[in-house]
């Protein structure tokens, strides 16, 4: 479904550049050995921005929870209401969460706990690729 194109900014440029190459990266503080997402200017644990790097993820995760959006704020998505909006936890670090529309999963038939795999979708305005997630069927 259509999405707004995210505009890369200094703090998250690495994420979006990697997405355009089909890779999922998450910010890592190598001093703390700790991932964080969304990206920030400094590590939330040690407060330093000097040790942040981009760390590549496997692209596997599970559905932590979801809601079905009937009243979303983005006009670009009005025509697609209602739609699933799930919270994905990454297998590499279940503390790290991302959102997904779960393409291919019917509205409100979201299996909490199910494994998901990474796909990328192109957004229309700028062509920026964004990560999405599909339920892994047996």
């Amino acid at each position: 479904m259509p999405k707004q194109s995210p505009v890369p900014e200094d703090v998250d440029r690495g994420f979006w550049e990697a997405a355009n190459e089909g890779r999922l990266v998450v910010q890592n503080c190598h001093a703390c050995d700790r991932l964080q997402h969304p990206p920030m200017d400094a590590c939330a644990q040690c407060g330093s921005g000097d040790n942040l790097e981009w760390s590549e993820m496997s692209g596997r995760g599970t559905i932590y929870t979801y809601a079905v959006m009937y009243d979303n704020p983005v006009p670009l998505m009005f025509d697609d209401q209602p739609f699933n909006a799930a919270v994905i936890k990454l297998e590499d670090d279940p503390d790290i969460m991302m959102l997904s529309h779960l393409p291919g999963t019917p509205v409100d038939e979201v299996p909490i706990g199910a494994p998901v795999r990474l796909v990328f979708e192109k957004t229309q305005a700028t062509g920026q690729m964004v990560p999405e997630w599909e339920v892994v069927t047996q």
């Binding site: 999405k3 997402h37 929870t65 997904s100």
Partner: protein, 451 residues
């Protein structure tokens, strides 16, 4: 007058950690009076219904309620923020009138043109309330009523003020919150909102996902929540200061209404959310000694706590929310030096309604443990006539988005003057309240007696 413009409450005033023991200020500050302005759905652009006018109205009613005159007040705490929305300033003024001009004719305005219409300040209040001649301590405490009440209580305990007013207002201008506003507009998105709004999620979404997880984790059904909402709506209609009692007294909400309501972010529907309104409330705090010659019975503040853990990632998880609520529950008991069975009632925040469950389970009120709330509200008597009132104020769901009905009701219940809401199944001796989300929480324990 020197105004202490706190950006936050001084950190040493807050009780964030566990293990601090009984609060040293216990029962050294009391609430005596409270007052609310009239309410409305949206501002009609009349200066006399502006957030500034409402704040003045609430302050005067709180003073009258306590039997205090303006010259006796020496402390004033104002919450400068009066919206949760994302409206641009200036707003789209009505074409046929000059609202800023009308305001300037009706009130003494200050440099910031929003103040009085879409914000408040101590300066604006004092300029427009000439009866406040002796304010020596004046402070801004941001965001919400609960932290402002804690600020007032600590200010009294610390001897900075003997008679302290607190005021919080809400303005609601024309337009819809969030929808098509700011980051949501256009075909590109920048700022941190790209991670949330970018997927079409905002407002109730995060709480809806936590509630979905809750239903899954504990094997419960959404329908089990209906009785809580019905009861809150009923309590709201018995709250004469509230929006629905004043403006839509026929608006009784039944179980069927709840179950058939329009979805916002399923499993959250219209009745799980609150409606934005225009309203203001004020509270008067003093010392127990000074309260003796005031008009109302004093309500003792037995303890307070604050809990604001950051989210580990994109949004707080259910587990983070539950842990925060449980920590608050323990800290409130510890501060007040009581046990959970001492609570006669709870008035925890409810806007969104769903996390009221998490708050109550965190307290352990009425023996409710994690995962128990829905069974409790479905099967037990949770009315104000029963042995374990749940949200006797009716909260935001019952009376509109203010985050202060809970405090007002706690006071009135303990003073025995809650009218049609007055609880009868239990003698109100100790109550607990606080706002807002469990993970962004300031709470207080209140007693009808100092012990």
């Amino acid at each position: 007058m020197t105004t202490n413009r706190f950006e936050q409450i001084p950190e040493e005033w807050l009780r964030r950690r566990e293990g601090l023991g009984i609060w040293e200020g216990r029962s050294k500050a009391v609430a005596v009076g409270t007052g609310a302005s009239d309410t409305s759905r949206r501002w009609d652009w009349d200066p006399q219904t502006s957030v500034g006018a409402n704040a003045i109205s609430a302050l005067r009613r709180a003073m009258d309620d306590a039997g205090v005159t303006g010259d006796q007040v020496d402390g004033l705490i104002v919450v400068p923020d009066t919206t949760t929305g994302r409206f641009a300033w200036p707003p789209a003024w009505p074409e046929d009138r000059d609202v800023p001009g009308d305001m300037a004719a009706a009130f003494e305005m200050v440099d910031d043109p929003r103040v009085g219409m879409a914000g408040l300040s101590t300066e604006w209040i004092i300029k427009n309330m000439p009866e406040l001649t002796n304010v020596e301590f004046a402070a801004h405490i941001p965001s919400d009523t609960a932290p402002a009440l804690i600020g007032a209580v600590e200010a009294v305990v610390r001897g900075l003020t003997k008679v302290c007013l607190v005021v919080k207002g809400w303005h609601n201008l024309a337009g819809r919150y969030y929808v098509g506003q700011g980051a949501a507009n256009g075909d590109t998105i920048a700022t941190r909102e790209k991670w949330s709004t970018g997927w079409g999620t905002v407002g109730v979404y995060q709480e809806a996902t936590r509630f979905q997880r809750y239903l899954w984790k504990y094997g419960k059904r959404k329908e089990m929540f209906a009785n809580f909402v019905v009861n809150s709506k009923r309590n709201g209609l018995n709250f004469p200061e509230g929006f629905f009692a004043q403006n839509r007294p026929e608006d009784i909400v039944t179980r069927e209404d709840y179950l058939g309501a329009r979805w916002l972010a399923k499993p959250a529907n219209l009745y799980d959310a609150d409606i934005p309104i225009c309203a203001a409330a004020a509270f008067l705090f003093t010392t127990p000694e000074r309260a003796k010659d005031m008009k109302q019975k004093p309500v003792y503040v037995l303890g307070h706590t604050s809990t604001q853990p950051p989210a580990r990632s994109l949004q707080h998880t259910l587990e983070e929310e539950e842990a925060a609520a449980a920590s608050s529950g323990r800290k409130l008991l510890e501060a007040a030096g009581i046990s959970v069975s001492d609570y006669s009632f709870e008035n925890m925040y409810d806007g969104y309604g769903m996390f009221h469950a998490i708050h109550v389970e965190g307290l352990g009120y009425a023996g409710i443990k994690q995962g128990d709330f829905l069974d409790f509200v479905e099967n037990e008597d949770i009315t104000n006539e029963g042995p374990h009132p749940i949200s006797p104020s009716g909260g935001n769901i019952g009376s509109g988005r203010t985050r202060f009905w809970l405090h007002m009701d706690t006071m009135q219940q303990l003073q025995g003057r809650a009218g049609a809401r007055q609880m009868t199944g239990v003698k109100p001796e100790i109550g607990v309240d606080g706002a807002n989300f469990p993970q962004n929480f300031h709470g207080l324990v209140w007693g009808a007696n100092p012990d």
